[in-house]
Amino acid sequence: MRTSTLGVGILGAGPVTQAIHLPTLARIRDAFHVAKIMDVDPDIARSVAGRVGAAWTTSMDDLLADEAVQVVVICSPHQFHAEQVIAACRAGKRAVLCEKPFAMSQAEAEEIAAVSQETGVPIIVGAMHTFDPGWLAAKEHWGDLPRTAHTIRYSIVLPPNPRFEDFATEVITRPARTRQDRHDPEVAAAMVRGGIMGLAIHDLPLVRAFCPDFTDLEVLTCHVPDPSGYLVNLRIGDRNVQVFGISTDSWQPEWTFEAISDTTSLRIDFTPSYVQAGSATATITRGGESAVYGPYSANGYEGEWRYLADLADGKAARLDVTELIHDLTFALDVADKASAAVRATAESQATGESQATAPQKEAIS
């Protein structure tokens, strides 16, 4: 039985901190308390810290030097992640949770891995669906599907984030949303890259679990739907993979992951981000008979924090940092190739040429 709780320090106090981590930490007060919150905006830092009775600061160094902080959570903009993860490790903290992506290049990821190894500080990435009890139940029951699946489909129909943030908390600051011209090649390329690294990245580790040859990756087509998103057809090894995301004001959210073989299909329906709405539901179908796992009461956010507590206490095995690097490099590969493909397609359409060459029919054996 724990006699005292771990002090959490949070770098970045935007919507993710406000709507995800603070409500989640409120559910597991037996393990954690929020010790200090840092944001470059002092008003936001003060306000958000005030909600949970924590200290606040505008300085990362100040937060990392605070002995009341044992666990560091990084919720800052993507470009700061690598630097802050490394600084937290060097500060000798008990564990680090970094929101995805934990780096923006393979070089950064490898540097993080080296520092984690050197300092002994465990790192986890906030890929909440990999901690979702629905996903974990699927892993337990899917048998040989990762070896036999030939098709992977991953689809997100995403209503505006504020709809769900507002159910999770009362957010005091949000980044502005602007509508952009998706027909502009550079805008399209940026939309796809941002969409892959900001949204699709959530479940790319799940996709990778079904793609043993994940480095043999070819983007077959890429398209930006109206008003924004991505539709990417990929060949990953011998797998047929489609990754789709679209933002819409329409009411029905959808977040699904499917892996399909000749004889078995797995479908996972995830709950929307932000809300504490329980776990995903996993359905495994074989020969017309379905087994359903979940929904369970806790979601992946709670799962990752529970794991972090065990990790900090030395009760859980560390994640293999190599796997985290593979997840990141896989996501970067998808993002880079998809954005290049959509740029080429948009440029050829802008000049009135036919679409980028697509592969022809393969011989059907």
Partner: protein, 283 residues
């Protein structure tokens, strides 16, 4: 008053199109043809209509190799309507011209398009079909299915639900399925996919998601009366349209019966020829 029409079908058409079950479920409109032996069925006593004495009014044939010739034979024998079950890609010019000259409807019983939910969804899709739209269509079909056939049925579905496809470009095509990019006559883009698996029964979906609204259609296989589902959604919520518990096969035969009664022909063969003409772009 509904006029009863006699029906005959080849064993292959019966097996693939569930003809006997359809006829049994429309006992006032349809009756099995007994070869003219029982005049009471085809004659004045019941009002059942056979064409020239010894032939059935309606003929069902399987869409296997040579089906246009078989259909021409049925027309020559005096058929007043023809159903082709799961037609394979082939030249239908001669059949189309002959059927048009005779004014006889030749209807195509493809896997998805005749489902009554498709017609229910069509006006909602039409309201979402413009050059900014992305139509997503997917079919889950049994392992070993002929992909040309799967795509033809999917093209018929997209045509009936949203609008005709005018061009195709393959993203992938292999023994596990396909993903094909398409453009509709409206200028809308489409992503057409097929996945071959025996894990679950066949199913087809079509959806358009717009910045503020969406329409989604989910269809079961043609042999089940489980309803197709049409969901229309916007910022204020989603509406499931009334469900119609009728197989696609039965809905198609009702349509044929209505065409014959009204003395009308149809455009199924022309549409089929247009869809089939797109397939060579994939090879």
């Amino acid at each position: 008053m509904t006029r009863q029409l006699t029906v005959t079908s080849s064993p292959e058409a019966d097996a693939a199109g569930g003809v006997a079950q359809v006829v049994a479920s429309l006992p006032v409109s349809l009756h099995p043809f007994d070869g003219g032996a029982a005049a009471g069925h085809d004659g004045a006593a019941t009002g059942a209509a056979a064409p020239d004495g010894g032939a059935a009014a309606l003929v069902a044939i399987a869409g296997i190799a040579g089906w246009p010739e078989e259909a021409l034979g049925a027309l020559a024998a005096g058929a007043r309507g023809v159903v082709v079950v799961s037609p394979s890609a082939t030249d239908v010019t001669a059949l189309q011209e002959r059927a048009k000259a005779l004014g006889v409807p030749v209807v195509l019983d493809t896997e998805w398009a005749p489902n009554p939910a498709v017609a229910a969804a069509a006006p909602h899709f039409a309201a979402h079909d413009d050059e900014e739209s992305l139509v997503e269509a997917r079919v889950d079909a049994p392992v070993g299915s002929d992909l040309d056939q799967v795509l033809l049925a999917q093209l018929a579905l997209v045509r009936a639900a949203v609008g005709p496809v005018v061009s195709l470009s393959p993203a992938r095509w292999n023994n596990h399925g396909y993903d094909v990019l398409a453009q509709l006559a409206s200028g809308a883009r489409a992503s057409l996919g097929a996945i071959l698996t025996d894990a679950a029964p066949p199913q087809a979906t079509v959806r358009i998601i717009k910045p503020h609204t969406a329409v989604a259609l989910v269809l079961p296989g043609a042999g089940t009366a489980a309803p197709g589902k049409v969901t229309v959604s916007g910022p204020d919520g989603a509406t499931l349209l009334p469900t119609q518990w009728e197989t696609a096969h039965r809905a198609l035969w009702r349509r044929l019966h209505a065409l014959v009664e009204a003395g009308q022909s149809c455009e199924d063969l022309l549409d089929f020829a247009a869809d089939a003409s797109l397939l060579p772009a994939l090879s």
